[in-house]
């Protein structure tokens, strides 16, 4: 490369530092001989350095710019280091920093120990007792809905078929027979027509309900049964066609009974009548009697209601009707008020 005024300084600096090659050195000296005004540059002092004071000023600003990790926590550096030591441990540089921050070894250990003891301990005695409320259970699909429905349908079908079959093959029903204490009586039973006549001649219990007045009378004088008994029974006459029809009914047709004496016959006939007349009616009579007593001495609230109805009826010309409901003991359990535009049902407390 040719040395000229634009690049001779680079060769000159290499020459001064002693790193120039021999070939370049010859070229540089030849160039300086051609330009003697530049020969003075060969005496340049290259050992020049900065003064140390200038570095000191830069360090002063650097300290002001440096930040500490503790500033993130708004904590003093010393506290930060102690807490960090207790929490997660310190690095070597942080240990050294702590050493500088707290030179007193005893004070350092004391402070460090106090932070170590700030760990909270949970109270293991506190437990949640209602765990069962939180647990869940699996419902296993033992029987699918479709299977269940088909099964139920099949069972129902079988039940219907069985019931029909049972009805068709029902065994012969044993007819009711009259009680007899004559075991040796083996006489052949009468012909059905004769037996039928006997049945038809039997007095039939009157199924109509006794009147309230008769029951009240009975409750007042239970021994007076004659009239009631007479009222309650009557002879029924049946036409031969009806009798034939009745005789054709299975139960009656197949009626077989041993002859009985008059006492047994009377007992069989009278016992139901007696029970009907004396026990059931006596019970009904006692209920009516209680109702009568209740009406005679009504409760205060009911009396007030009844009084109110009477007043209303007086004012409105009998426009309100009051019906009372009784329970099996004859006590009033409710009442019903019915007017032209009003109907009220109330229970008695």
């Amino acid at each position: 490369m040719r040395i000229d005024k634009n690049n001779y300084e680079a060769y000159l600096l290499d020459y001064l530092e002693g790193s120039i090659s021999d070939q370049d050195k010859q070229l540089l000296l030849l160039f300086l001989d051609e330009h003697p005004e530049l020969k003075g540059d060969l005496e340049t002092d290259i050992n020049i350095s900065l003064e140390p004071e200038q570095v000191g000023v830069a360090c002063h600003f650097k300290d002001e710019l440096l930040k500490h990790e503790a500033q993130n926590y708004d904590l003093p550096a010393k506290d930060y280091l102690f807490i960090k030591k207790a929490e997660e441990g310190l690095t070597v540089s942080e240990e050294a920093e702590l050493l500088l921050a707290e030179p007193d070894e005893l004070a350092r250990e004391k402070e460090s120990a106090s932070y170590q003891q700030l760990r909270l301990q949970s109270d293991s005695q506190i437990t949640f007792d209602d765990k069962n409320k939180l647990r869940r259970f699996i419902l296993l699909p033992v029987l699918k809905q479709t299977v269940a429905r088909r099964g139920i349908a099949a069972v129902a079908s079988i039940a219907v078929i069985l019931s029909v079959w049972i009805n068709l093959n029902r065994p012969v029903i044993v007819e009711p027979t009259t009680a007899s204490n004559d075991k040796n009586n083996t006489q052949k039973i009468e012909a059905p027509a004769i037996a039928l006549n006997k049945i038809l001649e039997k007095p039939v219990v009157n199924q109509t309900q006794p009147s309230k007045d008769s029951l009240l009378e009975l409750s007042k004088n239970p021994m007076n049964k004659a009239q009631t008994k007479a009222d309650s029974t009557q002879k029924v006459t049946i036409t031969p066609e009806s009798a034939q029809y009745l005789a054709s009914i299975n139960q009656i047709k197949r009626f077989e009974s041993a002859p009985i004496n008059a006492y047994e016959h009377g007992l069989n006939v009278m016992m139901p009548q007696y029970m009907n007349n004396n026990l059931l009616r006596a019970e009904l009579a006692s209920i009516y009697q209680q109702i009568e007593q209740e009406e005679a001495t009504p409760s205060l609230s009911l009396a007030l209601v009844e009084g109110g109805v009477k007043v209303m009826n007086f004012l409105s010309k009998e426009s309100v009707k009051m019906n009372k409901y009784y329970n099996a003991d004859g006590k009033v359990v409710g009442y019903k008020l019915k007017g032209d535009n009003l109907e009220v049902n109330r229970r008695v407390k």
């Binding site: 807490i83 301990q121 109270d123 949640f128």
Partner: protein, 161 residues
Amino acid sequence: MTVEEFNQAVNQYSDSVYRFILKNIKDEDKAKDIIQDTYEKLWKKHDEVNFLKVKSYLFSAAYHTLIDLTRREKKQAQWDDVDFKNHSHTDGYTDLNEVLHQAVERLPETQRMVVMMRDYEGYSYKEISEITKLSEAQVKVYIFRARKFLKEYIGNIEVLV
């Protein structure tokens, strides 16, 4: 998570979650309601929640329920409002843990909860940040500030020890 794992979660974690809630609100009935609610939330999502993460899920649900409750009741205190000097303790104590819990009750809500998670359950900063949805750095800041407050509250710890 299967039903069996759910029930396992009840057996294993309900005590610690209940303790965490109770220590924060001091009301047994409310604590029971919150734990019921917490497990109800877990049950609704039990198909999605991994059993390995269930503890964190429970604490997270409980934490957020507590935060909501506190905000509703407007009891949350600010860190700046805490005056160390006013809370410093000078009376003599015999039980350090007792005093520590008194001090913890005076901490702001979030600080108290993260410290409890750290100390009671041994969670790392990262785990607490996942539970609370705070950044890890923020969790660390809360814990360090709480430690400082506890230290200041207790005062001269030598009296206690």
